[in-house]
């Protein structure tokens, strides 16, 4: 594949395996080649790609490493999404956050929630089985799903139930008895006594295994019998075909194409059952290694197929981060990060504070009339701000090109906003709108650079409202 098609495919990859990329980055990656780029994305360490320089980040944003305020906590995550040299690592972190949704509304400890996010960052592309064990021991999760209240003589089934229903197998593949037995196996998995948040701020909580509070009795779980502890339960879960299919569908939903909401998965078959089978098989063949599975997905025909391009509604985080990358805002610390974090919440995704353990409803449910307006306005405001480096550069480059027809100008803007491809109908509508606004011949009658620059940003704002920009 060469030329325009290769660039368009690379843009698709970067929208899915990252948060979008500038035309320059897409061109540079296309030069390296698709498979090489996939390798760099799935295994950045082996390619010598460093993570974010946390020192520079924390030097400027005091208080964001150990946040008492949830906006600092969200800003911390968002800044990394914008600036991490490892976009897939950050995207996978977001994926796990959406699957293993844990919320500030109850945990009330930004430091601990960021610690969980960091766990996803460090281990999210490794073994799913290991990640589940770490999750079961994660203090924020223990507190969120009440496993600290799960005692030998008074079990609490919250964690056990969600582990099966939302984190591994999905409804319909286990019984109520399995939930009870699973919960018994996790008794004694709790949090150590912790220092309170005042007067000196939060201290990290610690996992504490209390053998005296663990139910040592025999358990029967998914057809297995034994004196199971938590890790045994996870081993049995990972062996179930339902688990690989459940995770496969999650991966497909997040990286390939919007599926229906998770609670409907029992009743509604996948969009692409063959792809789900292939992903599930890859998981099993690779001992649930997420990195190998992502490599398989990005190199697969079903991922590269143009039919799935622009078939995922961007989550608010993806939309905001992608836009800030295009306009090159917050590429270095500057005041106001908490306002960006707040905007993400206004658009319906208050990071680290999902509405429930079920996480956010995704796909078309990201968009209602209020959210759509906010999404469009946010993007349009950034794209019309000529003080932002990315906008300034795009305007300068396009101004240098001199007179252009409406079609040429629209094509150029679409390229610079991440090599977007509009459907014919949308494209024609935009041209029509540009012509109606008298923009077709504006260059020939322009009174100078300002009018030309305004025209360019007007076109970019129009693009911001298209389905293709709002989708990934």
């Amino acid at each position: 594949m060469t030329g325009e098609k290769a660039l368009a495919l690379m843009a698709h990859l970067m929208r899915r395996a990252g948060f979008g990329a500038s035309k320059r980055e897409i061109e540079a990656r296309a030069l390296k080649g698709y498979e090489t780029t996939v390798e760099e994305l799935v295994d950045p360490s082996s390619h010598g790609i460093p993570g974010l320089h946390e020192g520079i980040f924390y030097r400027h944003y005091t208080g964001i490493a150990n946040p008492g305020n949830p906006l600092n906590m969200r800003g911390n995550f968002l800044y990394r999404m914008i600036n991490s040299p490892r976009p897939l690592e950050e995207k996978t972190t977001l994926f796990w956050h959406q699957v293993f949704a844990t919320g500030y509304s109850k945990v009330d400890n930004g430091n601990e929630l960021l610690h969980q996010i960091d766990m996803f960052r460090k281990f999210g592309m490794g073994s799913y089985r290991e990640l589940l064990v770490k999750l079961a021991k994660n203090p924020a999760m223990i507190f969120w799903l009440d496993n600290n209240e799960n005692h030998k003589h008074a079990p609490n089934e919250n964690w056990g139930r969600e582990l099966l229903e939302l984190f591994t197998m999905g409804q319909g593949h286990y019984s109520e008895e399995d939930v009870k037995e699973c919960s018994r196996a996790f008794t004694g998995w709790t949090i150590g006594r912790k220092l309170p948040k005042n007067p000196y701020g939060r201290f990290l909580w610690e996992f504490d295994y209390r053998s005296e509070d663990h139910d040592e009795g025999e358990k029967q779980f998914l057809g297995h019998t034994g004196n199971f502890n938590g890790e045994d339960i996870i081993d049995i879960i990972v062996e179930q075909p339902a688990t690989s299919r459940f995770l496969a569908r999650h991966l497909y939903n997040f990286f390939v194409e919007d599926e229906v909401q998770v609670p409907s998965w029992l009743d509604i078959p996948p969009m692409n059952p063959e792809a789900i089978d292939a992903i599930a098989n890859t998981l099993v063949e690779n001992q649930f290694d997420v990195r190998s599975t992502l490599r398989f997905i990005f190199n697969s025909d079903f991922f590269k197929d143009e039919k799935v391009w622009f078939k995922r509604v961007k989550s608010p985080a993806e939309l905001i981060v992608g836009t800030l990358k295009v306009v090159e805002d917050y590429h270095f610390p500057k005041p106001g990060l908490s306002e960006i974090a707040e905007e993400c919440g206004f658009q319906g995704q208050a990071l680290l504070d999902p509405p429930s353990v079920e996480g956010w409803h995704t796909g078309k449910e990201w968009i209602d009339s209020g959210a759509l307006l906010r999404r469009i306005n946010f993007v349009a405001d950034r794209l019309s701000d000529k003080d932002l480096p990315g906008v300034r550069l795009m305007v300068e480059e396009l101004c240098k090109k001199g007179d252009m027809s409406s079609k040429e100008l629209l094509d150029e803007c679409l390229d610079r906003m991440g090599i977007l491809r509009l459907e014919r109908e949308t494209f024609d509508e935009l041209i029509q709108h540009m012509n109606k606004s008298g923009t077709e011949n504006l260059d020939k009658t322009t009174q100078g650079e300002v009018a030309r620059a305004d025209l360019i940003t007007d076109v970019m704002r129009l693009i911001a409202a298209t389905r293709e920009y709002q989708f990934a």
Binding site: G55, G68, P335
Partner: protein, 331 residues
């Protein structure tokens, strides 16, 4: 009382001051502090992006709250990203702001007096002022985070001298932060990104380097020199304070010893019994003793060492035993 004894030096943990708060009693991300000769402390809270409570808290060294001044904003006397605070020989207070690229001057009651500084890369302009220090002649040295250089001004902002450029060689700097001047008017700069402290003479000539001996420095943010010439450095990223002799040899490492609550923290716990009870249930309070991002360090002539912690909202104080001699072993 915990004591750190090494060779001919003893550092006794003395006290802790402060607690977290967005106003009034307490600090929020105290990035720097200054202590006047009469024992009045000025603690500069940078706050966070979401907790807009930048301010200067005025207190005695015995932790008696006196007042606070300034606040978040761009108006005269306000801050966005304050970095450093110093007092001149007339008691006027100078605060640097690395976002607004200006130096703001207050009287000792906290009333706005004046400001100077223009943003830019040119000589005499300010490009991310990060550290401030006065010499004995009343000249003000400014280290620049983004300019990678040191500039010397009169206290009214007239430019005198500039040195340094981005790099790793002797005399070069990368994102310098804290700066101090010793009794001989030599200048010490926390060369943050290069993990070292560089010593210059008053004309900006490189003299020596600190940090190559001992466990090393990890993004040092602040430096202080005591009357005996010992050099103290906050190794911000790994949460240590490293102490060196004037020849650069390493003396010891402080990790934090706050086993005694500050007066304000104790008051808080007395007023909030739930917090007090929660602490009583904790098996081990030792994690609370350790530094968490020690960011600024000062010494006073009485041998005390003052260390503010960005993420713990407090100041730990050590007392160096002056003129200490090793006792004979068979006592």
């Amino acid at each position: 009382m915990q004591a750190i004894s090494v060779g001919d030096r003893v550092y006794n943990y003395s006290q802790t001051l402060g607690r977290g708060s967005d106003g009034g009693i307490g600090f929020r991300n105290p990035v720097d502090l200054a202590i006047s000769p009469d024992g009045i402390m000025y603690v500069l809270s940078r706050a966070s992006d979401a907790n807009q409570c930048q301010r200067v808290t005025v207190l005695t060294t015995e932790e008696e709250f006196i007042s606070e001044f300034s606040g978040p904003g761009t108006d005269d006397g306000q801050f966005i990203w304050p970095t450093s605070i110093v007092i001149d020989n007339e008691g006027m207070i100078y605060v640097a702001d690395e976002w607004l690229n200006r130096i703001t001057i207050f009287d000792n009651l906290g009333n706005f007096h004046s400001k100077w500084g223009k943003p830019g890369h040119e000589i005499g302009q300010l490009n991310g002022p990060a550290g401030l220090a006065f010499d004995s002649k009343g000249c003000l040295y400014v280290s620049e985070n983004l300019g990678h250089r040191i500039q010397k001004f009169t206290k009214d902002g007239e430019h005198i001298k500039t040195w340094g450029n981005q790099g790793q060689l002797e005399g070069e700097l990368t994102r310098p932060w804290g700066i101090t001047v010793d009794s001989d008017d030599n200048i010490y700069v926390a060369d943050w990104y290069n993990n070292r402290v560089q010593k210059f003479d008053s004309d900006g000539r490189f003299m020596s380097v600190f940090g190559s001996q001992g466990p090393g420095l990890d993004l040092p943010s602040s430096v202080a020199v005591d009357l005996e010439g010992d050099v103290y450095v906050t190794s911000w990223w790994n949460c240590k304070v490293e102490i060196f002799r004037r020849d650069g040899s390493h003396i010891t490492t402080l990790s934090g010893n706050a086993d005694k609550l500050s007066k304000w923290a104790a008051e808080f716990l007395n007023q909030n019994p739930d917090y007090r009870k929660a602490r009583q249930l904790v098996k081990d309070l030792e994690p609370e003793w350790a530094f968490f991002r020690p960011i600024a360090i000062k010494t006073t002539d009485d041998g005390r060492i003052w260390i503010s912690e960005d993420e713990r909202w407090r100041i730990q104080v050590y007392q160096k035993e002056l003129d200490w001699e090793i006792p004979i072993l068979n006592l």
